[in-house]
């Protein structure tokens, strides 16, 4: 479904992604783990078109998207839950959800999706008229995921959704990720620091170091890999 082939991305003159190749199949949950500064966020920003790669290819459904504008990438079915949530702080919860559905015109279906999200996260229903910036971190993360889902993506990119959350919220978020994947067959690309949780929910995983993939395999294999254990699982 998604294929990154020898992607090279720069921030200014600094090369961050060096010949990065990743493949994601339809219906999968894959996770990308790596230390701070490895280039995980940059990978997602390259896929989303915010920081387009300088060389290499990104194929979505077989079509190159590396030079497509971010709004057209969203339209083609890719949504991002960004690092740090990035809720529109002075839009209400409801308006934030509306923004998620910005490219859709099927108002009746949008309403259904909002109701579905309010069932998934009742707290958001309660706070629907509150400004996004006034929500707690966990609530904002729920809203960020919901906002991305409002676009009805076929591929959902998540950048460290558990960052800064307490254990109860972390469990809730990972449960939701699994649910999204099984119920609506949404393909998921999960970037995580919490390697243990990520590898438990994912089917396959990639390990990234300094802008390169150093290891890849099934989630189980990676969970039991000695290097991964030492470097990312703290065992």
């Amino acid at each position: 479904m998604l294929r990154l082939h020898n992607v090279q991305t720069f921030h200014g003159n600094v090369q961050v992604l060096k010949d990065l190749s990743i493949e994601v199949s339809e219906g999968e949950i894959i996770t990308l783990i790596g230390a701070n500064g490895a280039g995980k966020t940059t990978t997602l920003m390259s896929i989303s078109g915010i920081v387009p790669p300088r060389a290499g290819e990104i194929l979505f459904d077989g079509k190159p998207i590396q030079n497509v504008s971010p709004d057209d990438i969203v339209a083609s079915g890719i949504s991002l839950v960004p690092e740090g949530r990035r809720i529109f702080p002075r839009l209400t919860v409801m308006e934030n959800l509306d923004m998620g559905a910005f490219l859709r015109r099927d108002n009746a279906e949008i309403k259904k999706d909002v109701n579905h999200i309010f069932e998934l996260f009742p707290i958001l229903a309660e706070r629907r008229h509150q400004q996004g910036g006034t929500l707690s971190g966990g609530e904002q993360q729920m809203l960020a995921i919901s906002r991305a889902l409002m676009a009805r993506p076929r591929l959902l990119l998540l950048d460290e959704p558990s960052l800064g959350l307490g254990p109860i919220f972390v469990k809730l978020i990972f449960d939701i990720i699994r649910k999204i994947n099984t119920e609506s067959r949404t393909t998921i690309f999960l970037v995580e620091q919490n390697a243990h949780m990520a590898l438990k929910v994912a089917h396959r995983g990639y390990v990234m170091e300094n802008g390169r993939i150093t290891l890849e395999g099934s989630a189980d294999t990676l969970l039991h890999n000695e290097d991964v254990k030492k470097a990312y699982l703290g065992i």
Binding site: S48, G49, I50, S69, P70, D71, V74, A75, S79, L80, P82, G84, R86, F88, P89, R90, L91, E95, D98, M99, G100, F102, L103, R147, A151
Partner: protein, 300 residues
């Protein structure tokens, strides 16, 4: 009491015009954090366009309300086209340059447009016909407000309501607010930010053109330089209210207009322009983000 009301009406009239121009500054700043120094010139071009259209229509024997409407419509379209083009030519190519570059480009644009009108027209003041209709019923009820003041304040009020509805409830309005709050995130939900920026320039320029037609009718003369002082005053109003905030720009404009009016009415008219800047300095010392400005959020 009548004198007070007269000054108040005068202040609100000025404030209305400042507001129409200030909105363009504040909306553009809100979206791309640029002070569009050429905005005052857009207002001036609106007034000139209306003057030319009104002249042509008068020669063809038209008069009354239809002249006002036609002249205003053409002025709005023409100014909007200028605003749109200025952004595309002078700012868009510099979107990723350092913050100073577009600012210098803006000042260059302002000088260019002034001189362009100076050469195309004349440096002298040109008489501007009063296109605004006389409202005789006003005289019967109230003695302290003239027809033009009434129309300027009323038109501005209606426009403010429409603009608020547009920003609050339409798809375009939501896209504008989202872009102002987090541009990259707006792109990530599918907003075409280039289009939002263009729309912002178009709306701001259209409002300035309406301001230009109204004030030119009120004052009765224009020249190529009227955009400069009006621009500075409106910019002051926008900063006063909190730059980036739409209600702030309107409030700042009305406060500024009334301050000027009362200060010249009760103190002295010699220092008319000084009061505006004294007020600005005082408010910025007390509340640096302006009357309704929100604290700058750290952008990631």
């Amino acid at each position: 009491m009548d004198y007070f009301l007269e000054l108040l009406i005068g202040g609100l009239t000025r404030g209305s015009i400042y507001a129409l121009i200030a909105l363009g500054y504040t909306m553009v700043y809100g979206i791309i954090e640029l002070i569009n120094f050429a905005h005052g010139e857009i207002y001036m071009i609106g007034a000139f366009t209306a003057l030319i259209v009104a002249g042509v229509l008068a020669m063809s024997g038209m008069s009354g309300l239809s002249v006002l409407i036609l002249a205003s419509v053409v002025a709005v379209i023409y100014s909007a086209a200028y605003g749109f083009t200025v952004e595309k030519v002078a700012y868009k190519p510099l979107r990723h340059a350092s913050r100073l570059s577009p600012l210098i480009s803006a000042i260059g644009m302002s000088i260019f447009l002034q001189n362009y009108v100076l050469v195309a027209q004349t440096s002298d003041f040109l008489p501007f016909p009063n296109l605004l209709p006389d409202l005789p019923f006003l005289a019967n009820y109230v003695g302290f407000i003239g027809s033009t003041e009434f129309i300027i304040i009323g038109t501005t009020a209606v426009i403010m309501v429409l603009l608020t509805l547009l920003i609050k409830f339409t798809r375009m309005g939501k896209a504008m607010r989202a872009t102002a709050q987090d541009r990259n995130m707006a792109m990530l939900v599918g907003v075409n930010v280039n289009r939002v920026i263009s729309n912002t320039f178009i709306i701001g320029s259209a409002l300035a053109a309406i301001g230009g037609v109204l004030i030119a009718s009120h004052v009765g003369r224009i020249n190529f330089y009227i955009g400069f002082l009006a621009g500075i005053k409106a910019f002051t109003a926008a900063v006063l209210g909190g730059i980036g905030s739409i209600p702030g720009a309107v409030l700042g404009a009305l406060v500024l207009g009334c301050t000027e009016s009362f200060a010249t009415g009760y103190v002295s008219s010699d220092y008319e322009d000084v009061f505006a800047f004294v007020l600005l300095i005082v408010i910025l010392i007390i509340k640096p983000s302006g009357l309704l400005g929100h604290k700058p959020t750290q952008k990631v």
